[in-house]
């Protein structure tokens, strides 16, 4: 496992290349994003949500990314990328408690293919972190792809930040990879959740903050939404191939999963979660953090207002 060394090196490199990165962004901002149909102009165009069905994970991702203009639309040559899977549990891939290594592997490969200088991954897991990393299959993904798996249980790697627009969550410690990476790709698994009904893209971001207890003690749903005022992922890739439909988010066995062979990809985190909620038979507004985020204008909950591109691979 490559860890901090790569991370710090990446940090230095990033520091050195910051002016260029910014310039590059300036030039690159419009063209590919426009081809992808995503506009960054203040006039809010419809969010695009790509939904793919009936394929294998990698194939569905390939299809979805092609529809969004390829990974190149999001990852520029020489950029540092953070891929944030759900690695919260010491649980094997077939139990669906974590993001599936097959999908994560494909995401990382695409980032490198698009010219990423480095791809890092981490989570601040619930179970013992090394066992989570190993048994989820993420360690193997890192080894196979050259991605850097970083310790999410090292408090010194988290930095204190202000979240001025948060209503309840107004400060907190956020992992420096989130703060320092050029591109932030959120790759959660869709699951039932005993407390928040579902867990998908927004809930997965609890793994980038150090003190989750504050969320639970204060107002879980509000804090989940508040964090988005500080940082939104560049891209959200929601794995709904075989979502956990009960006993979530940890699950007991593979019997807790229902095969749906679906993948959702969008830059709009709220829209992605809203569609995920639908997949698990909930109305998006049933999920309070989705409703709050929509109300705070952090994304689109009303799927009627989303440009959904649907693909069936079979």
């Amino acid at each position: 496992m490559k860890t901090r060394r790569d991370f710090i090196k990446a940090g230095f490199a990033l520091g050195a290349s910051l002016p260029f990165a910014n310039l590059e962004r300036l030039f690159a901002a419009d063209l590919p994003l426009k081809t992808a149909g995503v506009s960054t102009t203040p006039v809010r165009a419809k969010s695009i949500l790509v939904a793919v069905r009936d394929g294998e994970r990698a194939a569905m991702l390939d299809k979805a990314m092609a529809a969004l203009g390829g990974m190149e639309a999001f990852v520029k040559k020489g950029q540092t990328v953070l891929v944030k899977p759900n690695i919260g549990w010491d649980s094997p891939p077939e139990r669906g408690a974590n993001s599936h290594p097959e999908l994560v592997k494909r995401v990382v490969e695409m980032c490198f293919a698009a010219g990423a200088k480095s791809v890092s991954m981490f989570d601040n897991p619930c179970d013992q972190w090394q066992r989570c990393y190993t048994n989820s299959g993420m360690e193997k993904v890192a080894q196979d792809t050259g991605a850097t798996l970083v310790n999410g249980k090292d408090e010194t790697l988290y930095r204190q930040v202000e979240i001025p627009n948060g209503r309840k969550l107004q400060e907190g410690k956020v992992h420096s990879l989130v703060l320092d990476s050029d591109v932030f790709i959120n790759v959660p698994a869709l699951k039932h959740h005993g407390g928040t009904l579902i867990t998908a893209c927004m809930k997965n971001l609890m793994g980038i903050v150090w003190n989750r207890k504050f969320y639970h003690r204060t107002d879980l749903h509000q804090c989940i939404a508040d964090l988005l005022t500080f940082k939104k992922p560049t891209l959200n890739i929601l794995d709904a191939y075989a979502p956990m439909v009960r006993n979530g988010p940890r699950g007991e066995s593979a019997d807790d999963l229902v095969v749906m062979r679906t993948l959702l990809v969008s830059t709009d985190i709220v829209a992605t979660d809203a569609a995920g909620a639908k997949l698990l038979n909930y109305q998006p507004s049933d999920i309070r953090h989705i409703a709050i985020a929509a109300e705070m204008k952090l994304g689109t909950m009303d799927l009627e207002q989303v440009d959904i591109r649907r693909f069936k691979l079979a």
Binding site: H193, G195, L197, R217, V245, R250, L257, I308
Partner: protein
């Protein structure tokens, strides 16, 4: 075997055992395979004896050690016992601090026997786990390494992580150092100081005064078939052997070696230029050739010795039985007066330990499981088990919770105190049961969702039910709870947690509800949006 090879062989084995055991105990990130610690723990005298007597395993190490000692003396004390080797390290490091005068010291026979008999009496009385946890040399070593050096090594690791990063050294990461509580830490600190001071001052004095294993093996060694003896014809009385003797047991005035205190380090054999010290068969009826006439009638001397030895043994056994009967009777008396104790325990012992009583009885508190516990939920107790359970591992859910799929403590335990459970059995092994104090729950007090407890519960003993305005309230089915402590650890309620695990004195099994395969929501073959 050439006699000069003996010391070389002893040093090689000792260095290997010491290095491997030290590595196993200070390992803070599971780098050392657990089998190394387990195997080297299992071949130690006390863990092996405890496991054998408890019927936990067919641990023959203790029998082999007895046979070896009866054959050639206390090889165990110099080659295998890590606390002994630790003293040798101290002796070596402090050698140059002072010029040690060549000296023979008289044995502290009464003190030695007191410690040994106290241990034996305690064991027969049912306090063996307590006595051995204080006096077993291996366990003392384990605690010194696990409780003092492991956190120090962790801190050292953390301090070089940054440096390693900049010079491009892969694979280091920071780990939170795991310090035992002050109370539990006092004992290993005291023992370390005692052992270091005694070793620097007078060599293996600890082994030949305090250590019950040293005394027991010394007693066997005294009657060993082969003993190191001084060849009168070769000896020039240069006292080189006395200078290097760590046990101060060579008396050149009488040309005798007190073999009960000799730890078989073979320094004397190695140092003697005249090959004047070597093994001689000592069970021959005839007096050894080396014993000169003036020493006079060794048989006459030996017979009363043997008589004293046998009578003391008989007396000791009789005394032990007597005292233990009294103790057991008083225990029964106490037990008779109180009602049958409820199956609850204020302290929680690890899965596989079966019951608090059995655990306290068998565990010698070597802290190998504490070193190897991946989450750190196992912490040394101070008075949580009572005095008899001081330093024994307990589940501390403030620090962490028990990893559902992990059986590491059972794998490493060398003295059969923690059974090795298969993972399926561990999943149902109930060491405690959660209790929900719903009035303290965040969902009730704050009116916001939480469900951290249910989220972490591996058996779904804690689930959630609808509550109030679209909230989810924790709901507990105690029958499913195994007492892993995940819910308690993560409960954010302040000042008191809303879900707390109470230990079971006798562990039992949780129920499991078999759920059919999930089928909802049914696929329509299309997108639901």
């Amino acid at each position: 075997m050439p006699p000069k090879l003996l010391k070389w062989l002893r040093v090689v084995v000792a260095v290997a055992v010491f290095a491997a055991l030290t590595a196993a105990f200070v390992d803070f990130r599971e780098l050392v395979p657990w089998k190394i610690g387990h195997t080297l723990g299992e071949i130690q005298f006390v863990p092996s004896l405890v496991a054998l007597l408890a019927g936990a395993s067919l641990s023959l190490a203790c029998i082999i050690i007895v046979i070896v000692t009866l054959a050639v003396g206390r090889v165990y004390c110099s080659a295998i016992c890590p606390l002994g080797i630790l003293q040798d390290v101290v002796i070596r490091l402090t050698k140059r601090l002072k010029s040690r005068p060549a000296s023979y010291a008289r044995p502290h026979t009464e003190l030695r026997q007191t410690f040994l008999w106290a241990t034996i009496i305690a064991a027969v009385a049912g306090w063996g786990g307590f006595a051995l946890s204080l006096l077993d040399p291996y366990s003392n070593f384990g605690r010194i390494m696990s409780d003092i050096f492991r956190p120090l090594v962790t801190l050292a690791n953390n301090s070089v992580v940054g440096l390693a990063d900049t010079v491009g050294w892969h694979g280091l990461f920071r780990v939170v150092p795991s310090w035992a509580g002050t109370g539990a830490l006092m004992v290993p600190v005291f023992v370390l100081l005692l052992v270091v001071v005694l070793a620097a001052w007078r060599g293996r004095l600890y082994c030949n005064t305090v250590c019950p294993v040293g005394t027991l093996l010394g007693w066997l060694s005294q009657h060993a078939a082969f003993r190191l003896q001084i060849k009168q014809s070769a000896c020039r009385k240069c006292a080189a052997c006395m200078k290097v003797c760590k046990a101060q047991c060579i008396d050149l005035n009488s040309s005798a070696i007190d073999f009960s205190r000799c730890v078989a380090c073979y320094n004397c054999v190695d140092v003697c230029e005249k090959d004047g010290i070597g093994y001689r068969f000592a069970w021959a009826r005839k007096a050894p050739i080396s014993t000169p006439a003036p020493q006079a009638a060794p048989d006459a001397v030996r017979d009363p010795h043997r008589r004293v030895f046998i009578s003391k043994t008989m007396l000791g056994i009789a005394g032990t039985v007597g005292i233990s009967r009294v103790l057991l009777a008083s225990e029964k008396l106490r037990g008779g007066k109180t009602k049958p104790a409820p199956n609850f325990s204020p302290v929680i012992c690890p899965p596989g330990s079966a019951s608090v009583e059995r655990f306290i009885d068998r565990c010698t508190a070597c802290h190998l499981c504490i070193s190897k516990c991946p989450t750190g939920v196992l912490q040394p107790a101070f008075m949580e088990y009572g005095l008899l359970g001081i330093m024994k591992p307990r589940m501390d859910f403030n620090v962490a919770f028990c990893n559902f799929d992990c059986v590491r403590c059972g794998e490493v335990c060398p003295d059969g105190a923690i059974d090795l459970l298969d993972v399926a059995t561990k999943h149902l092994t109930k060491i405690g049961e959660a209790q929900l104090f719903i009035d303290q729950c965040v969902v009730v007090t704050n009116g916001t969702d939480c469900a951290a407890c249910s989220e972490h519960c591996p058996t779904k003993a804690v689930s959630t039910i609808p509550y109030g305005n679209n909230l989810r309230l924790p709901s507990l089915n105690g029958d499913l709870c195994i007492g892993c402590g995940a819910c308690e650890h993560v409960c954010p309620a302040k000042p008191d947690k809303a879900i707390i695990v109470t230990g079971l004195r006798e562990h039992s099994f949780a129920k499991k509800i078999a759920e059919p395969k999930a089928t909802l929501p049914k696929s329509t073959g299309d997108f639901p949006f």
